[in-house]
Amino acid sequence: MSASSPRIVVIGGGATGLGVIWDLALRGIRATLVEQGDLCHGTSGRFHGLLHSGGRYAVRDPRSAEECIRENRVLRRVAGPAVEPVGGYFLALPEDDPAYVRSWRAGCEAAGIPVRPVDPAEFLRREPRANPRVATVFAVPDASIDSFRLAQQLVAGARRLGARILTRHRVVAARAQGGRVVGVEVENAQGRVTLDADMVINAAGPWARRVGHVFGVEIPMVLAKGSHLIFNERLSSAVLNRLIPPDDGDILVPHDVTSILATTSLAVDEPEDVEVTEAEVALLLERGEALVPGVSGRRVLRAFAGVRPLFDPEGSPGGMRDERAITRGLSLLDHEERDGLGGLISIVGGKLTTFRLMAETAVDLALERMGLVAACRTRDTPLPGAHSPDPVPLHLERARRRLGPLYPSVLDRLRADPAQGALLCECEQVTVAEIDARAAGSRHMSDLRRQTWCAMGPCQGTFCAHRLAGRVDAPAEELVEFVTERWRGQRPVLWGQQAREAAVGRSLMAQALWPAGAGW
């Protein structure tokens, strides 16, 4: 191993893996990241979008609470437009346990979470749709965070510093010599490639256990599915949390022009188990009534689920126990120590809020193991696109927030050709310029959807999926797959207007794609 050119491979293109590669890049180390699908297709793209203040964990999981508030402050500083500082409230209803309220306040104080009591009448003036029976309210520094934007910022920053990011590359085999990992074999549509490595960092989230198996190590994990509902409107201006022990449907997060109601928690076997059941939808809506009465009558756009990768050293692998009792704190596994396999580190557990800290911890250990010294800089280095040099007109503000580092190049396109300003997706206000600029990177329709929010609005692609397919010349099969993916999230919440719109969309697609082939 040459100290001047260490070879590090990071596995997993969610927030943690991207955080690791950004951290390495800032320390002057050019690494390679491999991701089996698209960036943030897993847990990082399937959560409530809450940048925790830590209040949720103040009683049962003080370490996690402390990590959350610390990272909350850091990300507000460095992540720029990916964070919307909406603030948050914890509210207790008359029937809620006052003893819990007391221990919650003590826990927040111990963790360093600033908590401010708010007069319920004042709170209801600010949040008129919230439950009017509210008895006790506290303000906390919650925020909402857009992980897709965050991912784009991390990628832009890391690439600028020489990092290599390979999406749609799956790790299929490990190579080891004398008890040390020396490389990984990855596979993509074109075939297999071997990447030499002095160090491999496994940041594959819910897939971490499977990646561990490739290296012959066992990582005890519990996978907990959390289901969410997205509403067509912003039901509150700040995050609303129930002031009770963490439970189903007790968080409502405003997100751009939508709201996300979260979450359920069910142990599942596989990372791919992300189907939302009708019972979960009913449960979320029923519980959501306590936050916002009447919420079950509002229009739901989609249901989606993410799988939390919880580290559970006490449980049997995949074992069942109350997963809400397992820490949300991060866990770093040094497989040299644990399993006698050098050159492999796994980072599991944690939350999106703490992704940066997870990355820092993992890179610290990796460098220590490699005998390198370089200080972490992610705490104070703004991500690309975090600060716009000039004030931006209001109608471009959404585009700026979404585009991050790509914003200037899109503005250039618009200046050169005003026709590029046409909206390809009306619901999410996505311009042709934005699609064209993104398509220079990936032409996959689903990648473009995650990067631009195209087809994520009320019509769920009925009026723009064909346009996107036309713009990037996607084959009909890819459009069918795209429409089918949109369908999966809609299906559990198809009632009322949303069911009607889905029926109209089906008719349009069935005509335009006749005979539709796949799924016909």
Partner: protein, 402 residues
């Protein structure tokens, strides 16, 4: 209270055709509709049976509850002929063969099978030249030509420097522009001479709504070719043209047209006894009571909004205030993929041979209530490519009975 012979609830294709048929029989009929119906979303061509078999063979092979089977091959033929005559009178002639499919190119380069098409959308004759409008996102000409030989030349029209023509325009915006004198001039100047060789000019279906006939003829004269349109994405000018033609014909026949009102039916032991209509935005205000001998329910089913999926997965007919047989749960109501066969997409009333909604034992719900279009169940118009034909035959029979 207003006394009439018949009330038609719903102003889409089925409602308008049913009302016209009732009026032609010399009866006093009122059409009440909450919205504009689904014609503005409707691509224009009428699909009858995607599989391409002749009407007799098709009807014989269908399951017993299918509306084609219930109403019969003769009624379908008569309905298609009725519609051809009706559209000719209304100045928007539909052409095609009732027994075999024609086709129209789709924006994704497929051929959509249909048996009645507006003349302007009939299959192109001879080699074609495709036209790409500037900034038009709802149909890429290079892709559309996959429905033809794939090698047709494409003429890319450009907007003038600094002009915003086409930027962000959907089909409806284009049609409104081309309906104006400057719009017509714009396209005639660009599609005159100097075109690549070919017998047919093929454009997206945006050649105006009110002035579509004159503009089409002017374009044929200027270019020296046949002019044809391919199928578009909503809002759809061919749907708007058909709506305009049918509304005009209904008005000419004296149909009392009331738009923007919500209707509820009240039934008694002898049948539907009255229709209460209230202005749509002002629910809770006192309604107007209509009395009629017969009522036609043409409320559009699930896509049209007449039939609502409730939270528990049950189905509600909003007009009659009646629950329909659902599937017991929402997930069973809808399939795992959007195009799979699923109860939701065949939802609606089963009917008898006179197009009357019937209960599970086959008895009419009310002796004087008829149903047409998507309010009728037992068929999947998307998978079968049968929605146009079912709308016409149910409207034809219901309008002949009501």
């Amino acid at each position: 209270m207003v006394k009439l012979d018949s009330v038609v609830v719903g102003g889409g294709l089925a409602g308008l055709v049913a009302a016209i048929r009732v009026a032609e029989r010399g009866r006093r009929v009122c059409l009440v509709a909450e919205g504009q119906g689904m014609l503005p979303l409707f691509a224009g061509p009428l699909a009858v049976w995607g599989a391409g078999t002749g009407i007799d063979a098709m009807a014989a092979a269908l399951s017993p509850g299918h509306p084609y089977r219930v109403l019969g091959a003769a009624a379908l033929r008569a309905a298609l002929a009725f519609f051809r005559d009706l559209t000719r009178r209304a100045g928007l002639p539909y052409v095609g063969d009732a027994e075999a499919n024609g086709w129209v190119p789709t924006p994704l380069g497929r051929r959509y099978p249909c048996r009645l098409l507006p003349e302007r959308m009939a299959p192109p004759q001879g080699p074609a030249v495709l036209v790409q409008l500037p900034g038009f996102l709802d149909g890429v000409a290079r892709r559309v030509r996959a429905a033809l030989t794939g090698a047709e030349p494409v003429v890319e029209l450009e907007a003038d420097r600094g002009s915003q023509v086409g930027t962000g325009w959907d089909s409806d915006r284009w049609a409104r522009f081309l309906d104006t004198a400057p719009g017509a001039r714009w396209i005639l100047e660009r599609l005159g001479d100097r075109l690549p060789p070919g017998d047919t000019l093929l454009l997206p279906a945006v050649l105006g709504v009110e002035g579509h006939e004159a503009l089409g003829r002017a374009l044929e004269a200027a270019s020296g070719r046949q002019v044809r349109e391919w199928m578009g994405w909503p809002p759809s000018p061919p749907g708007a043209r058909l709506r305009r033609a049918l509304v005009g014909e209904a008005a000419r026949l004296g149909v009392d047209l009331r738009w923007g009102v919500r209707a509820t039916l009240s039934g008694g032991p002898h049948g539907i006894e009255g229709v209460t209509v209230v202005p749509k935005p002002a629910e809770g205000t006192r309604g107007v009571e209509l009395r009629a001998e017969t009522v036609v329910l043409a409320t559009g089913g699930l896509p049209g909004g007449g039939l609502v999926v409730e939270r528990d997965g049950s189905l509600l007919d909003r007009t009659l205030g009646r629950g329909l047989a659902g599937a017991g749960s929402r997930l069973r109501l809808f399939g795992e993929t959007p195009f799979a066969a699923a109860p939701a997409f065949a939802a609606g009333y089963p009917i008898d041979g006179r197009a009357r909604p019937v209960d599970a034992s086959g008895r009419p719900l009310y002796p004087n209530l008829f149903a047409a279009g998507r309010a009728v169940g037992g068929y999947d118009g998307d998978r079968e490519a049968s929605g146009g034909g079912v709308a016409l035959v149910t409207a034809f029979v219901a309008g002949g009975e009501a």
